[in-house]
């Protein structure tokens, strides 16, 4: 009886919290977006520049997720399966991108590749453009989402310990086989959460990218930047319409995740 009451209270608290903190803000984005009617909404969403910005956002997000997933798996494996000096330092260094104000993160790359940066003369000689061009946007996105995947996996692998892996190694399994047969199944869901978090964050990244994009319309604008520009141009409704694309993209990804997770758990893999 008592636990039933606890259960009801906890569920209610969750719904109120999520409702007030997340659902209301997100639904007001949609309300704002549709304020001037469906026609204005369509115009903003199918605008030439919006479509170009969407394309760039997808490229940057995919690059960031691919690289950070690869990195995350290696980093988590290194940190949780071996003992070595400076482990906490390494873990903390990986977390650093969380602690940096996104504006400063963008500035970092300006201070390297920008006209004021130390690598400018070199890349200028080969006519490579990094900042105020697409490579810079990709770099900044990778930077701000760098720890996402590893950070999700590490706690799970830590709480799992490493006895199973050590046993397998003593029985003569090679590293890759151990990873595939033992570690991967343990961290599957955490990996999935990490990838989803990373995708969501990469899509929405604004501060860092804003600093090194140059806001060139149709060239270096991602969706979040396009939102900012529309907003600054006193075009509030369009700004929210374009934001709603990001919300919808996020919802699609989350539905996909749910399907994968549901199927996986149903198959009794967990």
């Amino acid at each position: 009886m008592k636990s039933k009451i606890t259960r009801i209270i906890l569920i209610t608290v969750s719904f109120i919290f999520i409702g007030g903190m997340l659902v209301l803000p997100l639904s007001s984005v949609i309300v704002y977006a549709l304020r001037d009617g469906i026609k204005a909404y369509k115009e903003a969403v199918f605008d030439e520049y919006t479509v170009k910005a969407l394309y760039l956002t997808i490229i940057a997000t995919m690059s960031a997720v691919a690289l950070n997933t690869l990195f995350g798996i290696f980093a988590a494996w290194t940190i949780t399966k071996f003992n070595f000096r400076g482990k906490q330092l390494l873990t903390t260094l990986i977390d650093i991108p969380f602690a940096i104000s996104p504006v400063i993160a963008g500035l970092l790359f300006i201070l390297i590749f920008g006209r004021v940066g130390w690598a400018y003369d070199f890349i200028e000689k080969y006519n490579i453009k990094i900042v105020f061009a697409i490579p810079g946007i990709i770099l900044a996105t990778i930077f701000v989402t760098f720890p996402f995947v590893s950070r999700e996996i590490i706690p799970v692998l830590n709480s799992q310990g490493k006895d199973e892996e050590e046993a397998a190694a003593l029985m003569g399994a090679d590293g890759f086989k151990i990873f595939r047969k033992i570690t991967l199944p343990h961290m599957k869901w955490a990996l999935l959460y990490g990838v989803i978090l990373c995708t969501a964050r990469a899509m929405g990244e604004f501060g860092a990218v804003s600093v090194l994009s140059g806001h060139l319309r149709g060239k270096t604008n991602t969706l979040p930047l396009h939102v900012e520009i529309l907003y600054n141009e006193f075009n509030l409704t369009s700004a929210f319409a374009v934001s709603s694309i990001l919300v919808i993209m996020a919802i699609i990804i989350l539905i996909l995740r749910n399907i994968v997770e549901y199927k996986g758990k149903k198959a009794g893999e967990l």
Binding site: M62, Y120, I130, V131, F132, G214, G218, N232, F234
Partner: protein, 336 residues
């Protein structure tokens, strides 16, 4: 192992596509980039079409213009940091001077085009709620108890420095230059500011969308943009004394030399002074710098208020040092 190799191959591919598209390809059409500040988009969108037609007729060259908009100071920084702009059209001369000091624009740019290189100007006005419930007529109404003011921070928004200077100009006149009285006036004014947004657009949102405050101190053209969107909810009040806000324009010499676009960039700015472009500016609520064309818009703008200029403060360098650098007057207004 294969999977891993595939993944890294994919990554290299994605990154190199990025690099390649970043380099872009040279085509026959000349392309110039105009790095501008926020509320000029509609004006330049219309002007660019006008200019393309004019340039095609004059030189038989096709030209496309890439636009970039953002906060004025932030835009100037991006040019300094390597954003390749052929022309800059910013909110205040100080931002272009910063680009000059970085070595991208040759000294003396301000005299290169007419009227201090300001083809259009604006001024600082008040936006109040419909019916003007607090009966705000002039600057001294803003320091009364219970009047809530919205204005951006002049330290984080270059454009908002004009707001501060306009208020100072009024107080200077009122107290005949008595420094401590003026300072007291300004202190009272900023103590009435309930939200000190980081930029002009933020302040407008605070006032218009979130319903905060009784009066918004704003650029005239931006006040008109708000009025256009909500015609029945607001009124514009022009104070007795304001300042002539001069957004400046310049050709970025280093970039145009490198890209061989000096001629078209210079033509782009010169044409801003043509009658057609001046009228376009007026239609977008900027005051045309051509006096005759300005008179055509006398039913829109209140041309009776007295306008001081930045020269009354001895130029931007002096004004910055006295008011806006760290520890200067603006910082002293606030205490713990």
């Amino acid at each position: 192992m294969n999977k891993r190799r595939l993944l890294s191959l994919g990554l290299t591919l994605v990154l190199s596509i990025g690099v390649l598209t970043g380099c872009g390809s040279k085509s026959e059409i000349i392309e110039i980039t105009n790095v501008s500040y926020d509320p000029t988009r509609e004006f330049y969108e219309a002007y660019n079409e006008e200019f393309k037609a004019y340039w095609k007729e004059k030189t038989d060259q096709e030209v496309t213009i890439v636009q970039s908009h953002g906060g004025s100071g932030k835009q100037a920084r991006s040019v300094i940091e390597g954003n390749e702009a052929d022309v800059v059209t910013l909110a205040l001369a100080q931002d272009i001077t910063a680009i000059e000091e970085a070595g991208l624009i040759e000294a003396g740019w301000i005299d290169e085009f007419e009227k201090n290189s300001s083809p259009y100007t604006s001024t600082i006005v008040f936006l109040v709620r419909s019916g003007n419930p607090k009966n705000i007529k002039d600057w001294d109404d803003l320091i009364k108890d219970g009047v809530e003011v919205i204005t951006p921070n002049p330290k984080s928004s270059g454009g908002a420095r004009w707001n501060f200077l306009a208020a100072w100009g009024f107080a200077d006149e009122l107290y005949g230059g008595a420094q401590d009285k003026i300072t007291e006036f300004i202190t009272k004014l900023y103590n009435n500011v309930i939200v000190l947004d980081s930029g002009a657009r933020g302040s407008t949102t605070t006032f218009v969308e979130n319903g905060q405050g009784d009066v918004l101190i704003a650029w005239e053209n931006e006040a008109y943009l708000s009025l256009k969107e909500h015609p029945d909810e607001y009124e514009i009040i022009t104070p007795s004394i304001s300042i002539l806000a001069e957004p400046s324009v310049a050709v970025v010499d280093e970039v145009t030399k490198k890209r061989d676009t000096a001629e078209v960039a210079s033509g782009y700015i010169s044409y801003l002074y043509s009658d057609a472009a001046q009228r376009l500016a007026g239609e977008n609520y900027y005051r045309p710098s051509n006096e005759e064309i300005l008179q055509e818009f006398s039913n829109v703008f209140d041309l009776n208020s007295r306008l001081i200029t930045i020269d009354d403060f001895g130029g931007w360098e002096e004004a910055s040092k006295e008011f806006f650098v760290d520890g200067a007057l603006f910082d002293q207004i606030y205490s713990e």
